[in-house]
């Protein structure tokens, strides 16, 4: 009998398949599959006040990948708590809320409001530009990453997962910094910064000029970072970046992830999370794995 359970920072997920922040909408994704099948639903980044996001075009297709420059559009934490959370309550899955901000205070404001809700965990997206530091991302250096982790850890009554940006020279340095600062887990990777030019229109495809590269194109970078970070810290890791199939999920688990998130794959195939879960089970059956621990230890 296969056991897919995994414990992430004290929260028991019934399986390791989660939705990557920003690629899941309970109502809309739920039209394609049963949300109860997920190990956890990770919701789109939410900020202290509503954000409009960027003008369009926000999406560009690239070879084996895509760019997005949504600009973190969201209705703000109050709307989220009042209008979106109640809908999520009906599902038998863990709820992880992704949090964004432009200052540490903004992050903290969101976290404080989420403290009083039923959600299971908080995922902190530190790829956002830190406006106090001139727009450098919070995740770009270990000092800033450490500081924001400490502050959020101090006020959060939920486990906090720090979601790291891959656009750094040494991901292990950042990972060690957030672990030392009290992070309960790490998600990686967020998108790689990229750009596409429409050579006929003679301008960037995205209104925002640059955007985040995701999808199978970036999987080797993501697997490498999960592998490196697994060997640098001991807190749980949610691995993501280009997971398209059950075997991709296994690849992340072998690299050292405790769970995985499905992002771009859900745009390419709306039922991807449940298909990937099914493929993971098939792989385990065919290769004699009974639980995730065995997969995670297969390469050690």
């Amino acid at each position: 009998m296969i056991n897919l359970n995994v414990n992430i920072a004290g929260v028991l997920l019934k399986n390791p398949i989660t939705t990557a922040s920003g690629t899941f909408s309970a109502k809309d994704s739920g039209a394609f599959y049963d949300i109860n099948e997920l190990g956890a639903a990770i919701t789109k980044g939410v900020s202290n006040v509503p954000w409009d996001g960027n003008p369009t075009p926000r999406i560009a297709e690239t070879y084996g990948g895509m760019l997005n420059a949504i600009g973190l559009q969201n209705p703000g934490v109050d709307n989220f708590i009042n209008n979106e959370l109640p809908f999520l309550k009906q599902f038998d899955t863990k709820i992880i809320v992704n949090v964004v901000g432009k200052t540490i205070n903004e992050y903290c404001e969101v976290v404080e409001k989420l403290n009083d809700t039923f959600i299971d965990m908080i995922e902190v997206n530190i790829s956002c530009p830190n406006i106090k530091e001139g727009g450098i991302s919070f995740g770009a250096n270990s000092a800033m990453a450490s500081e924001i982790t400490k502050e959020i850890r101090r006020i959060s009554r939920k486990p906090i997962i720090m979601k790291l940006t891959p656009n750094v020279t040494d991901i292990t340095e950042i990972a060690k910094a957030v672990e030392a600062a009290g992070a309960d887990g790490i998600s990686l990777i967020n998108t790689l910064l990229g750009m596409k030019i429409d050579v006929h229109q003679k301008k960037p495809v995205l209104w925002n000029v640059m955007g985040g590269l995701s999808g199978p194109a970036i999987k080797p970078v993501a697997v490498r970072m999960v592998y490196q970070v697994r060997r640098a810290v001991s807190i749980p890791i949610i691995g993501l970046g280009g997971v398209m199939t059950g075997e991709d999920a296994v690849e992340f688990l072998m690299a050292g992830a405790d769970a995985v998130s499905i992002g771009t794959a859900a745009l390419v195939d709306p039922t991807a999370p449940v298909r990937i879960k099914k493929e993971l089970i098939e792989f385990m059956n065919q290769n004699g794995y009974e639980n995730l621990q065995q997969i995670r230890e297969a390469m050690l």
Partner: protein
């Protein structure tokens, strides 16, 4: 409603003008729940292109769906390369269609004119819309004196689907930018030139055209529905890639709505056209 992605068989796929194709697909999953103005996602075989291509449902008949599309890049090229009997991967119906109830609420029902306006490929969804309008007209017992359905359609060079539209419209006016056929000019100039008094506009086409029409409708207090296009990621509401800025009627609050899931049809008055 439950949605799915499935493979369906192509019954016909042929060019109907330069670079414009008509694809007929056997897909009862779509026809069963079709409402004019909806679209579907076409998923490609070429693995270098991950994202689906949104295409309006032009019309349906029994268990087939008709798409009218223009080859503008690699995705639509792949679509054009397929022949009858081959399979194509599709989503079931996406988006909300045109709001006919609003049309019939707004028009008085005596000597009123509803105008369908299409620019370029924007003509595609008007075919199914015209059919349903004509049917509703009959159902409601309205004759041509009570309600005229006219269409204004503009093309680059070569008109398509005129006869198809004529089947359900009282009159179809058309123009070409090049002047190769019909009135020379764009569809807005065509509307002005005909001088017909219209009581309700329903339009689909390039954003500049819709914006101009919205301006006209605002100035003359004529109701307008538009079908918007936006570069899409998922096409079903998950990625927030395809938004349009809108203003809530009641509260005057701005909201970035998803074209794919909240639209693609919006009231002209609801869209903030300035961006």
């Amino acid at each position: 409603m439950k949605k799915e992605v499935f493979k369906a068989e192509i019954a016909e796929n042929k060019p109907i003008a330069d670079k414009i194709y008509q694809m007929v697909i056997k897909a009862p999953q779509i026809t069963d729940n079709y409402w004019p103005g909806q679209f579907i996602n076409v998923y490609l075989d070429d693995k270098s292109m991950l994202l689906p291509r949104p295409v309006s449902i032009s019309s349906v008949s029994e268990d087939t769906v008709t798409l009218i599309y223009k080859v503008v890049g690699k995705g639509t090229e792949e679509m054009a390369s397929k022949g009858p009997g081959e399979l194509v991967r599709l989503s079931t119906n996406l988006g909300n269609g045109f709001r006919l109830e609003d049309v019939f609420n707004e028009i008085k029902g005596t000597s009123s004119v509803v105008a369908l306006v299409g620019g370029g490929m924007g003509i595609a969804p008007l075919v199914g819309l015209a059919r349903l309008l004509a049917k509703e007209k009959k159902v409601r017992g309205l004759n041509d004196e009570d309600l005229k359905i006219v269409a204004f359609v503009g093309f680059q060079d070569e008109p398509v689907l005129l006869e198809t539209l004529e089947d359900s419209c009282n009159r179809v006016y058309f123009s070409t930018e090049s002047g190769a056929k019909g009135f020379k000019g764009n569809v807005i100039q065509l509307i002005k030139k005909t001088g017909i008094k219209v009581d309700y506009y329903i339009a689909c086409g390039p954003k500049p055209m819709l914006k101009t029409l919205a301006q006209i409708c605002k100035n003359t207090s004529i109701p307008l529905q538009v079908s918007l296009e936006e570069r899409m990621g998922c096409g079903y509401g998950a990625c927030v890639g395809c938004v349009s800025k809108t203003k809530e009627k009641e509260t005057s609050k701005f909201k970035m709505k998803k074209v794919c899931a909240d639209g693609p049809v919006f009231f002209g008055s609801e869209v903030v056209w300035d961006d």
